[in-house]
């Protein structure tokens, strides 16, 4: 801790140029004050909000030219160029009613998120601050987006399987600020990331820009972290059912020299002991039981410091994080007749991250570089011979190992990543983007079950290096046409070890891919877009080299790849002064080739096998009435089928529905907001959310099978209803929220028929001071 403080003191003592305070106010075009409007200087970290009188102050602004931007819900965002100098006078910004900008009313479409959603490629972007009172996990937020389904039970800490437009598993990647999460936190899940540190979530439905993507094959989620550079304090605590506690605290200090220091800690804990129906061995019948071995605990701490808005750097930030977690296991991918009662894993992770941003030539050229190093150790222990009933009792003995056989090992990951991104504004409305990501992962470990004279496969270091470079053009060809195209090159080198001989082997390969997007705006409110990407997925360590045990190597594996085509139409319309409507309709087509598959023969290895086609559409609709009532709905329908099979004997399966994929689902939410209920700036919100998932097969089914005549092959109909309310006490800087999930206590399941929790609640308090 001494080093950061000394560093801060040293850089605090430095002095850079002349500065002045910038004051002003924001009013509407009807001359009414606009409280809590967001004010920022573009391309800096300088930002604030207006007070209840609509006034703002930005302190210690270095002399120079800036673009000041003001935004507020219900108004068009305004930007204007200003010169900051010694004779600075107050600035007045007038915001126009957003009668032409309907999407502003959507909680999921504001500011940067709105800009993202206007691109030629299909993106859904969500500002986390708009939904944080209602949700506790990122996966819950993603699960409400059209075309997206998150497969997980209600167990906090359990790994999530993300499905975007029918593609799932490893085909979908998760990124944090453009860096692949599997290289930062190899065994952590997206649901475990504390929401308080997250600013925005971009869901890419098929096509990935070069500054985000790696070898994702069918879409990705990019998590943009909150990187405040002003003094602030934030604390939140959520108490939920099943002894669930989510707490986080962050304090940020900034000085007039544009130095900043942020410290944050978070702690998550849950017993995850929700009730569900399961077989009780000793009674030989299904009963309602309480999960008993599913505890999860994670502690996270981070510190970041840096400087912004300097001549030599728009931002320079050094961050360090440390985290540890433990998770008990209760069941495998499916619920079986007995449970898991002792297996668990613990993970430890630390990372350092250095970020540098700078724009040149009056912002024509921008450079962004993020470097990250992380280390992770994971201890996995599964050694018991006890057999546990779902009642929690030990009912007998079996072969050791409850989940995948007797195991007691530690794996160590050392990860290094660097992404460099350059963007250059060739001319107005024409931009070139270049991005290079290099990532290296080293895997070692120790198997504690090996005898002293046995060679331990895990101790052999194995390396995977990927380099993905891409160049992209974005441009507005005319006032109506937006065009984007990109080329990417993938290089990878794998140094692994062979099962039989333990000899080192090397696999090296490269390939190209491309994507493009085209958007046509019929009017200011209606546009259509089409996009395509050839996606690739580089195989993992184990898929190439085996596991040192029963899976043998196959270095002949080729990357899985896919064609992704998206066609969409977007409309936003003001029907009257009181009623606004917006909708997006997208059709999508996916063709996955050479799917990597582990067979079940006497000798196992991963092979490239079948080909699968997905065709579907999704749509959402948002209605806003009198700026108080908002009704949001979305629906997704898709068919995922085999289109070719490697084994000629399986050719008959062409056209068969691929299992474990919801085929028809949607949700609808009605909320009512009232401002100034107790005090002028207070905000009250109440909502009801309903989600429907139609039955879908969780095993391959025959031609005549349907939900009526073969119900066991299907996950049944799911109806979920949530309700909740939140209140923001503006004077106290406090938001309180209370949510009741699955209020009808309906039976809900994941994609493999694992039950989810019945009725449950959470109470959340968020205290936040954005400027002091």
């Amino acid at each position: 801790m001494k080093i950061p403080i000394i560093f801060l003191l040293i850089i605090s003592s430095a002095c850079f140029g002349q500065q002045v305070n910038l004051e002003g106010r924001v009013i509407s075009d009807k001359n009414t004050i606009i409280p809590f409007a967001t004010i920022s200087l573009k391309n800096t970290k300088i930002a604030t909000v207006t007070n209840e009188q609509g006034k703002f102050e930005l302190k210690d602004i270095p002399f120079g030219e800036y673009t000041i931007e003001a935004s507020s819900v219900g108004y068009k965002t305004q930007a204007k160029r200003i010169a900051v100098n010694a004779s600075q006078t107050p600035i007045e910004i007038i915001l126009l009613d957003a009668s032409q900008e309907l999407a502003e009313v959507s909680v999921t479409a504001e500011k940067t998120s709105k800009v993202q959603e206007q691109r030629a490629i299909a993106i859904k972007s969500i500002e986390i601050k708009d939904v944080i009172a209602q949700n506790t996990l990122l996966t819950d937020i993603a699960d409400r987006i059209s075309g997206v389904r998150i497969r997980r039970s209600s167990s906090l800490g359990e790994k999530s399987d993300i499905s975007i437009n029918g593609m799932r598993g490893n085909a979908i990647r998760v990124y944090i600020d453009g860096l692949p999460m599997e290289f930062m936190y190899p065994n952590f899940d997206i649901s475990t990331l504390p929401l308080s540190n997250i600013k925005r979530m971009d869901v890419f439905k098929g096509v990935l820009p070069v500054d985000v993507g790696t070898d994702a094959m069918g879409g990705a989620i990019n998590i943009i972290t909150e990187q405040k550079a002003h003094s602030h304090l934030r604390a939140s605590y959520s108490l939920g059912s099943f002894n669930t506690h989510l707490a986080d605290f962050e304090v940020g200090l900034a000085n007039k020299k544009n130095l900043f220091l942020n410290v944050n800690v978070a702690h998550n804990y849950s017993d995850n002991d929700y009730k569900m129906k399961a077989f009780v061995f000793e009674k030989n019948k299904i009963e309602t039981v309480r999960r008993f071995h599913d505890k999860y605990k994670m502690t996270f701490g981070g510190i970041s410091m840096g400087v912004h808005s300097k001549k030599w750097a728009d931002e320079l930030r050094l961050a360090a994080n440390i985290s540890s977690g433990i998770k008990e296991l209760q069941n495998g991918a499916r619920i079986s007749s007995t449970s898991i009662g002792e297996a668990n894993y613990q993970a430890y992770n630390y990372s350092v991250n250095l970020k540098y941003e700078k724009s040149f030539f009056n912002e024509k050229l921008k450079i962004n570089n993020i470097a990250n190093y992380s280390f992770q150790a994971l201890d996995y222990v599964d050694t018991t011979a006890n057999v546990y009933s779902w009642s929690g009792k030990v009912v007998g003995k079996n072969v050791k190992g409850e989940y995948l056989g007797e195991s007691n090992y530690t794996t160590y990951y050392n990860n290094k990543i660097n992404r460099t991104t350059l963007s250059y504004l060739i001319a107005k409305n024409h931009k070139l983007l270049f991005s290079n990501l290099i990532a290296n992962q080293k895997l070692t470990g120790q198997d504690y079950l090996k005898d002293k004279d046995e060679r331990d496969y895990l101790t052999i270091p194995q390396f995977l290096t990927k380099n993905i470079v891409g160049i992209q053009y974005d441009g507005n060809l005319t006032s109506k046409i937006t065009f984007s195209t990109a080329a990417k090159r993938y290089d990878y080198v794998l140094n692994g070890a062979e099962n039989n001989t333990f000899e080192l082997i090397k696999k090296k390969d490269n390939f190209w891919s491309w994507n493009t997007g085209f958007k046509y705006s019929f009017t200011d409110n209606i546009f259509a877009r089409i996009s395509y990407e050839k996606g690739y997925l580089i195989p993992f360590f184990e898929q190439f080299v085996g596991n040192g045990a029963d899976i043998v190597r196959n270095t002949e594996l080729i990357p899985e790849n896919s064609d992704n085509l998206n066609l969409g139409l977007s409309l936003s319309q003001v029907v009257s002064n009181d009623l606004k409507i917006s909708t997006n309709i997208n059709a999508f087509w996916r063709e996955q080739y050479n799917i990597i598959f582990l067979g079940s023969g006497v000798v196992k290895r991963y092979d490239n096998a079948d080909q699968v086609n997905t065709l579907g559409f999704e749509g959402d609709l948002v209605l806003n009435f009198k700026k108080a009532f908002t009704w949001r709905s979305n629906i997704t329908a898709l068919r995922k089928r085999f289109s070719a099979l490697k084994d000629p004997r399986n050719a008959f399966l062409v056209g068969s529905i691929f299992p474990n994929n919801p085929t028809f689902f949607g949700n609808t939410e009605l909320d009512w907001q009232k401002n100034g209920l107790l005090n002028t700036a207070d905000k009250f919100r109440v909502y009801a959310f309903y989600q429907f998932v139609a039955p879908f097969n969780h095993i391959l089914i025959g031609q005549d099978d349907n939900f009526k005549n073969n119900a066991d092959a299907f996950v049944p109909i799911q109806n979920r209803l949530d309700v909740g309310t939140s209140y923001r006490f503006a004077k106290q800087n406090l938001t309180a929220a209370f949510n009741i999930n699955n209020i009808l206590n309906a039976e809900l399941f994941d994609n493999f028929l694992v039950p989810r929790a019945g009725i449950n609640f959470n109470l959340k308090l968020i205290f936040e001071i954005n400027k002091f």
């Binding site: 077989f279 062979e498 025959g702």
Partner: protein
């Protein structure tokens, strides 16, 4: 009280009238099919295994059967059949011993079940009221149940039975019941996780259980043989007199025991426990693959068996020379220069190529006669055979024409004809005749 007595008298009189013997006898109709055949198949894809099963009123001959028009299940494999019921793991693939029937609509239905600690391994029905079962992981486990009521009847104490402690698994893969002396013979498989998937001993151990007392009696050992039973529906057979013939499969060669120089224990053998005795006949050992002339095979396999009468049995055995490519790969293996891709190719060729053949065995004369009407088959997967009404039904699997199914073999004529041919649905696994 008085009124109750009068009412009781009235009821009794009514009951007597109702039991008038002149009334036609009411025959309760079964809820399940009691005739026809249950056919099942399996196939494997990137989406996992599919298990198809459906009912046939009659065998279809050469008319192809499209299993995809039947129902699918999470799991189906019958460990034993008794009348019109099947016994195996649950249709969800979970650890239950489940009694399964075919409902009137032709779909499989679970009639009753009870949970098992490990994966069900074998079921042996002894009579209407007694059966035994073993499981895969639970060391030396033998359980009893009533196949009619599915009542769990407890376990047989096998604490004194043979157990190789250093191996991770010691379990009974199959059993033979001998009615002549009411004894049960259980065949031990012992396996270590530290080696590949093969039997980790060079002797065979058979446990003898007295079913009068339900007590373990003794362990008998045959030195120089391994893998007592594996694959197929029946792996040991018993003749009319009570002579037990144990079919040892032969090793997969994964331990490097390949070719004619491989130790004898690694090659298939038929061993004998004579009637009226509970010890091995030390002088009886019969390798049908050698008798067939395939002594030079790298890997000899004997997969499954079924007994006919008068010392005649049938088995699916290795029956074709390996290709030059396989010998090339073995040469590399011997020199220690084989790559894993080549090793994978080698093992796949040995196990999953159509190189096995159903043969007629004379267990007394130790002769082997190929059943010529049944083509070479990739028998490693499901080398099952059944005996119904004096005829035999043997599974075949020919990847070249993408078909799998069953041949019907008539012992009196020595002829075999195709009676079930599956085109869509993978590899045939079951052909079960439903009976009252």
């Amino acid at each position: 009280m008085k009124s109750k007595i009068i009412f009781s008298g009235f009821l009794m009189a009514f009951a007597l009238i109702a039991c008038d013997k002149n009334e036609p006898e009411v025959v309760e109709e079964s809820l399940y099919k009691e005739s026809g055949y249950l056919v099942a198949s399996i196939n494997e894809t990137t989406a996992g295994n599919s298990y198809y099963a459906g009912h046939l009123d009659a065998l279809t001959g050469s008319t192809p059967v499209d299993m995809t028009t039947k129902s699918t299940y999470n799991f189906f494999y019958s460990n034993a059949k008794w009348k019109n019921f099947m016994f195996g793991r649950s249709l969800k693939g979970e650890n239950f011993l489940t009694k399964i029937a075919v409902d009137k609509a032709g779909k499989l239905i679970e009639v009753a079940s009870f949970p098992t600690l490990g994966v069900l391994n074998s079921v042996k029905i002894i009579n209407d009221n007694l059966a035994i079962y073993t499981d895969f992981g639970n060391s030396n486990f033998v359980g009893m149940f009533n196949p009619t009521t599915m009542e769990n009847l407890g376990v047989i104490d096998m604490s004194k039975a043979k157990k190789i402690a250093e191996n991770d698994r010691n379990f009974y893969i199959n059993a033979t019941y001998r009615k002549q002396d009411n004894k049960l013979f259980l065949y031990l498989v012992t396996d270590s996780d530290k080696t590949s998937q093969y039997y980790d001993a060079t002797d065979i151990f058979v446990e003898v259980v007295n079913m009068n007392t339900k007590q373990w009696e003794k362990t008998i050992t045959y030195k120089g043989a391994n893998d007592p039973t594996a694959r197929g529906g029946e792996n040991s057979v018993i003749d009319e007199n009570g002579n037990i013939y144990i079919f040892t499969q032969g090793t997969y060669g994964l331990d490097g025991s390949l070719g004619p120089q491989a130790p004898k224990y690694s090659r298939p053998q038929i061993l004998k426990i004579p009637a009226n005795g509970t010890d091995f006949d030390a002088n009886y050992s019969f390798n049908p693959v050698n008798v067939l002339g395939q002594t030079n095979l790298l890997v000899q396999l004997m997969l499954g068996a079924i007994y006919d009468s008068n010392g005649i049995a049938y088995s699916c055995i290795s029956a074709q020379s390996e290709s030059p490519r396989i010998f090339e790969l073995v040469g590399k293996f011997a020199q220690g220069i084989i790559t894993e891709a080549e090793f994978f190719e080698l093992r796949s060729s040995i196990f999953y190529s159509p190189t096995q053949r159903w043969v007629k065995l004379d267990l007394n004369a130790k002769t082997v006669t190929p059943i010529a009407d049944i083509p070479l088959t990739a028998g490693f997967g499901y080398p099952v055979a059944y005996k119904y009404d004096g005829k035999f039904y043997m599974q075949y699997n020919t990847p070249s024409d993408k078909t799998s199914g069953f041949y019907e073999y008539t012992p009196s004529t020595g002829k075999a004809t195709k009676v079930v041919s599956i085109t869509n649905g993978g590899i045939a696994t079951d052909l079960l005749k439903l009976e009252k």
